[in-house]
């Protein structure tokens, strides 16, 4: 049986990779995908803790995280499409209409 530590370490590594992607990528769609990766890393630690505590509550939380992730992707991609129609780009550095 695997120790809980390994699941939490894997979750931490996946979360850091997601953060790295958001920090170094300038493509809006890849940034949304990295946010999904971070949500999945957190889901993994919820599921692992639910298993090791023998409580179902963690799995319920993961269910709601999946719901919110679906809503977030729908709105986020709609924003990306609207942004692309306005500027013909998906580079977030180009989207500076509200900046100055």
């Amino acid at each position: 049986m695997i120790s809980l530590n390994y699941y939490l370490l894997l979750s931490a590594v996946l979360f850091s990779i997601g953060v790295l992607g958001v920090l170094i990528k300038r493509n809006a769609i890849i940034m949304i995908m990295c946010i999904e990766l971070m949500l999945n890393a957190v889901n993994l630690s919820f599921v692992a803790l639910a298993r090791y505590q023998n409580l179902m509550d963690g799995q319920i939380v993961v269910f709601f995280v999946m719901t919110v992730a679906a809503a977030e992707v729908a709105v986020g991609l709609a924003i990306v499409v609207a942004m692309f129609r306005l500027k013909q780009t998906e580079d977030v550095d180009e989207i500076n209409l509200m900046k100055w």
């Binding site: 939490l8 990779i17 953060v19 769609i29 999904e36 993994l44 269910f63």
Partner: protein
């Protein structure tokens, strides 16, 4: 056997997650992300969360990633890597995500070492992670969050339709 399966799935998950951020074209990132979601689903099976493992494949790999792939297809992106606006952006990003990784690893190892009974999994009931117990909890203890989630989905649907619709109304010259 179980630990071997864990390490294989974990290696696939980490490698495909790294490939997501190393690709230049969004379409390859999306395909690697699908592989990452599948290996996470395998890890959920290892953790006796069968319902969530199936939901992971249906919702993430099936719905969300297909949606992202559709948007990539419709937008007809050029796929060129933009030049760096911020100086040292890549270097600073790697530095800060490494710092975050160290923080998370320290916190999780410290937390687990505080209580010993958490580290090894005990015996679980046969219904753990099954759809029956899941539904029972969802409709009794977590009824209010469940209803709120449906409202969130409705709002997201309306928002996405409004974002997609506005420009068409502008082009036809009619009122919004």
């Amino acid at each position: 056997m179980e630990s071997l399966l864990f390490f294989v799935l974990a290696a696939i998950a980490v490698a495909s997650a790294l490939l997501v951020i190393l690709q230049h074209k969004p379409i390859y990132s999306a395909l690697w992300l699908v592989l990452c979601f599948f290996s996470l689903s395998g890890l959920y099976f290892l953790l006796h969360s069968e319902f969530l493992a199936i939901m992971q494949i249906i919702v993430y790999a099936g719905a969300i990633m297909v949606f992202i792939l559709f948007v990539i297809m419709l937008l007809n992106l050029k796929g060129e890597e933009a030049k760096e606006r911020l100086p040292f952006q890549r270097l600073i990003g790697i530095l800060f995500s490494l710092l975050l990784l160290m923080l998370l690893v320290t916190a999780s190892v410290y937390t687990v070492s505080m209580s010993n009974e958490m580290v090894q999994a005990g015996e679980i009931s046969a219904s753990f992670g099954g759809v029956k117990l899941f539904g029972k909890l969802l409709f009794s203890e977590y009824l209010l969050p469940f209803e709120v989630a449906s409202v969130i989905l409705l709002i997201a649907m309306i928002g996405a339709v409004i974002f997609g619709k506005k420009r068409i109304a502008d082009r036809e010259g009619g009122p919004e």
